[in-house]
Amino acid sequence: MFPAKFDYKAASSLQEAVGLLDDPDAKVIAGGHSLLPLMKLRLAQPKLLVDISRIPDLAYIRVDGGQLAIGAMTTYRQIKQSQEVHERAPVLAEAAHEVGDPQVQARGTLAGSLAHADPAGDMPAVVLALGGSVRAVGSSGERDVDLDSFFIDMLTTALQEREIIREVRLNVVPAGAGAAYQKFDQPASHYALTGICAVVTLSGAGDIASARIGVTGVGPKAYRPTAVEQALAGKSPSEDSVREAVQTVADGIDVLGDIHASPEYRAHLARVLTRRAVLQAATRARG
């Protein structure tokens, strides 16, 4: 399968890349593992690809101000191998291991996944549960977009037309908290039919002090089920009380249905996997 014709420019700086995005039919390509499959199916037909992979110093993972700062060209493979990630947000490495397969992980990037905003991507659930921001660069400089307002709709984010993610900034898992990612995948593509990331902080008494949850694969965009997060606060991290608290995880969501899973089944998976993720995160929080 060949993509429709396009022109290609390898930018040597982010400024140059932003300038090239003046063309309204231009698209940024990093690892290309979300974009190229769409282009081969001709679901996307950009006229110009702006390759940011040759811009120096965009693949990095740094600890900065209590957050993990992850550069735009950082691959899943690099995330999986990062000591900083394993020490501060191991759930991110765990989820990166669930993306596609090893070959895909060698090319695909975290920032690319977020910019693409596939409703079944793994990373959106994880970054919502961790919390943080996306640092975008555009023609009028840089701005930070809170992850809570980043995902707008299916394949649609808060990025403006001429903006590029230069860095993803994620909160680390706090002391006394645990995190887990639970996924039920489509076995050929490994996209999440449903994926749930939970970050759970326990109180001194062992109850759930707070929980942050990210959901992917269920609705048109990844989201936080805030009613579930509130219902979990103060509950004991036991099977029964967590089961009860997570019942509304898919409520009010336009749940997706396709040949792989009906809306009812996805909603069911969301309830089951949220319970499992919360319980696993709580177990990890206890150390």
Partner: protein, 186 residues
């Protein structure tokens, strides 16, 4: 005197080192790396299977990393070093230890997936020289085989691991047997 540039303005020059040899070709930006290798360089050992980055038949090493060449543009690979299955056996014909293990353990039937398997296993064993069976199965998640049921591919991978770490000789003694027991016979 400057030469007239006769190239199609839409064409790009891609220069790569493939299996140790520098290669330069003109490509359309939409040329996929797998077709660049197969059709422009004649290296047909890299296969096109699903063409949707699922089956892994097109796996190559790009700057030392196993990747799916059906989901990479040739222009993205410009300046890279590539290794394909053609560079695994020695020029004398002596097989790579992974290939030898496939031979001995009957790790292939039709052979279509084998080049991609061998390269994915090369990556797996460089990352993790002594994998468990479960790690092998997870590590080969990106490669589909429609013949073997994977059992012998997993056995071959574990055997290759032993060969590469020196726990097992390059040639398994049973492989010398002219009539090896049929695999799966009970």
């Amino acid at each position: 005197m400057a030469q007239t540039d006769t190239r199609d303005p839409g064409m790009h020059t891609v220069t790569v080192i493939v299996n140790g040899t520098r290669q330069s070709r003109e490509v359309e930006p939409r040329q996929l790396l797998v077709y660049f290798l197969r059709e422009q360089l004649g290296l047909t050992g890299t296969h096109v299977g699903c063409d949707t980055s699922q089956c892994g038949a097109c796996t190559i090493l790009l700057d030392g990393l196993a990747v799916k060449s059906c989901t990479i543009l040739a222009v993205q690979a410009d300046g890279s070093e590539i290794k394909t299955i053609e560079d695994f056996a020695e020029p004398s014909g002596k097989l790579h230890p992974i290939q030898q293990a496939f031979w001995e353990e009957h790790g292939l039937q039709c052979g279509f997936c084998t080049p991609g398997m061998v390269i994915a296993i090369d990556q797996l064993l460089r990352d993790n020289p002594k994998p468990t069976e479960a790690e092998v199965r997870r590590g080969l998640d990106g490669n589909l085989c429609r013949c073997t049921g994977y059992q012998n591919i997993v056995k071959a991978t574990l055997s290759a691991s032993r060969k590469l770490t020196g726990e097992e000789p390059f040639e398994k003694p049973e492989a010398m047997n002219p009539e090896p027991a049929a695999v799966g016979a009970h």
